[in-house]
Amino acid sequence: MKSMKKTLAMVAAVAMAGSVFAACGSNTGSSSITTAATTEAAATEAASTEAAADTEAAADTEAAAETEAAAETEAAAETASDEGKVLNIQVWNEEFKSRVTDHYPGYEEVDATHGKIGDVDVVWTITPSTDNAYQNNLDTLLPGNADAAADSKVDIFLVEADYALKYVDADVNVAMKLSDLGITDADLSDQYQYTKDVVTDANGDLRGASWQACSAGLIYNREIAKAVIGSDDPADVQAAVADWDTYNETAAKMADAGYYMTAGYADTYRVYSNNVSAPWVQDGKVVIDPNIKAWVDATKVQVDAGQTSASADLWGDEWAKGFYSGQGTKDVFCYFGPAWFFNFCMHSDDDASIAANGGWGFTVGPQGHFWGGTWICAANGTDNPSLVKDIILAMTTDKDVLKDIATKDSDCVNSKSVLADLASSEDGNIALLGGQNPYAVLAEGAEKVDMSKLSIYDQGCNEEFQAAMKNYFSGAGSYEDALAQFNSAIVEKYPELTTD
């Protein structure tokens, strides 16, 4: 009897201990995400302080321009007088904030996450994209946005191409139609078609706009080009990477000379994945495109031949060492990236970096592609529609603003005429590219970008596929094993999909 009692007590105790963790499982998850988010936010903040220093210097020289802008601000403030007093903007990094700070007329910075436009307070909420935290945040806020308290309503949120379709969906209806804001097709006529396709819903309504045209190319290290190819002229380098066969030959030469062709296994991924023949998901089923498989095969060869690293993740420490000479395991010949890559990723604010010394060159590369880009959406339920409209128009259609962005931030802007203008003028010469003018190449690329193969699952599929294949490249498993891992990861993320 006594042992019976003890056993019962034990079972009760175990059940209780179990209940503790049944509740905790999800708890721990979310708390660790927040930790990661905070750490990253701290990191971004640190980065932004540096950026802020730059901004200030620039602001001084532009003081004259600002006085002009002040007049405009008053006008904006007037139209907004009967609207909300707080403009909430949801972003995942500092990029848009610094663009607005530098280029939106009348924006005054208060501190790292607050600003003022006229008498409207601007509140920036930065949630890093890591672990899907940014989208999770939007998913909680946006559906109930119309009923939220006036000061906490989201007014503007940003999206990336990888998941833009999720938020511009007509049924979901979380992003306002631009036509409802009063923005007409004529206002946007100078923008590239692909930037509109990304944010067009199934009914053909436009629900966002971008200031960037993100056609991308191959950014090469001039020193290494001289040493191995014999010239750092874009045309000569292009000849050495004109298609995948010549690219692979050059990669072999780079490895012989002691260099990495690319910093990490995932660098060429976008070039392949933008040139697929069908979307990731067809009729609810995930399909591996032949071109994606081609990426796997080519990269495996390169990793095995020591032409790239199987452990360097995109944005990781090891990957970023290639922006300097002599810091990583090997120096890196090229990165693939669009114009935002120049200013935003290549550590050009650090004097020791290759970028700060103008050591990079730009060419098309083996295949045209695009990467990223940020779209501004007006959140349904916003209480500042006229201010939101003004911000969207100013940031994505005002040619002076766009030209400023291009010259100051080396960004490739979403305006055919501004790009044409830059391509034929010295303003388009970029210091970190050794004075090269990349705009003709970028503009030509932007015309060719084809967004018809986009699906709402792209971000999850792209991330999980690269993560799974990393195991194949590093030798931890076979291609079939890695594929199985990808399949289970996809079904976890998107329970509604099936795989082979």
Binding site: S32, S311, T329, A482, K493
Partner: protein, 318 residues
């Protein structure tokens, strides 16, 4: 007799005595715990079990379900084959960490409690071995992630000391990744275990040790024949709590492998797998997984308890 009882009841009903009046305070003091337990543990527990019978997730911004699917979620988990793999990973990493941890803790606690050694600075060492536990696990994991990165300090040190020619990629090697997770868990928890075991050892009557000393027992004999058997209740407690903690292993491998459980998901634990289902807010599958975990924990704890505690139970009931 019955008359007397009746009398007592009658009087208490009319005028409660002092003990009865104080009893109410007992219930009041119990209230905070009961409320917290019901709100934060019992309701979520029941809710989790309830959710496990439904298909309920987000597809993009669209809600799917909740549709009742009976045991469908459990069937999906059991037939997927992934569950056993992640259970295996979890147990391997727990055992890899627990064995050195318990050996180290037993050794340290028997040194600390041995009066004949007269160890100096005991308090200092006790604090030092407990310190790793005070660091947040995620911070600790982040630190190791940076240190053991292919371009990190450990690799450059090893290369400079000519112990290896090429930097070693720790996080693409199954053994190294699992080993690091186990090592970190061991490092974080051996101090805690040592303190627990010391409490157990100090609870053993000194006269038994003295008697053994007089009888000429060697320290090894004392350890195996006296300390260890008498320590059994605490050892069982340590085993069970560590096992439950081990099954819930999450933060260290999650941060160390960036949530991926690389290489090839060989360091993905059950809770990391659970966390994966929260991407799509898949309350159904995640709930079913939680219920399965509860059952696994109950069974394993019972087994540990049976194996290590049976003899003692038998002895006492006899």
């Amino acid at each position: 007799m019955p008359n007397k009882d009746l009398n007592v009841e009658f009087t208490t009903r009319r005028k409660p005595n002092k003990i009865d009046r104080l009893n109410i305070w007992g219930y009041i003091f119990l209230l905070p715990f009961t409320i917290v337990f019901i709100v934060f543990q019992l309701i979520p527990l029941v809710n989790t079990i309830y959710n496990s019978f439904f298909e309920n997730y987000m597809a993009g911004l669209k809600q799917v379900g909740p549709n009742f699917v009976g045991l469908g979620n459990f069937k999906e988990l059991m037939t997927g084959g992934d569950l056993t793999k992640y259970f295996g990973n979890t147990m391997i990493m727990w055992i890899l960490g627990f064995i050195p941890q318990i050996v180290l803790s037993l050794l340290l606690s028997s040194w600390f409690t041995n009066p004949s050694l007269r160890l100096k600075f005991q308090r200092f060492f006790k604090t030092v071995i407990y310190l790793p536990n005070l660091i947040m696990a995620s911070a600790f994991a982040m630190l190791f992630f940076t240190m053991f990165d292919i371009t990190g300090p450990v690799n450059s040190l090893l290369v400079k000391m000519h112990l290896i020619d090429q930097p070693f990629s720790f996080f693409t090697s199954v053994g190294a990744t699992r080993g690091l997770v186990a090592f970190m868990n061991c490092l974080m928890w051996f101090g805690n275990t040592t303190i627990l075991l010391m409490a157990g050892m100090l609870g053993i009557p000194v006269d038994i040790f003295e008697a053994a000393d007089v009888d000429g027992a060697t320290p090894t004999q004392v350890f195996w024949k006296i300390t260890l058997p008498l320590l059994r209740p605490i050892l069982v407690y340590v085993m069970v709590t560590s096992l439950i903690g081990g099954l819930q292993m999450f933060d260290v491998p999650q941060i160390l492998t960036n949530g991926k459980g690389d290489p090839m998901r060989t360091s993905m634990t059950l809770i990391m797998y659970l966390n994966k289902h929260l991407y799509s807010k898949n309350y159904g599958l995640a709930g079913a997984l939680s219920v399965l975990l509860l059952i696994i924990t109950a069974i394993l704890s019972f087994v540990v308890f049976k194996i290590t505690g049976e003899e003692e139970l038998n002895r006492k009931t006899r």
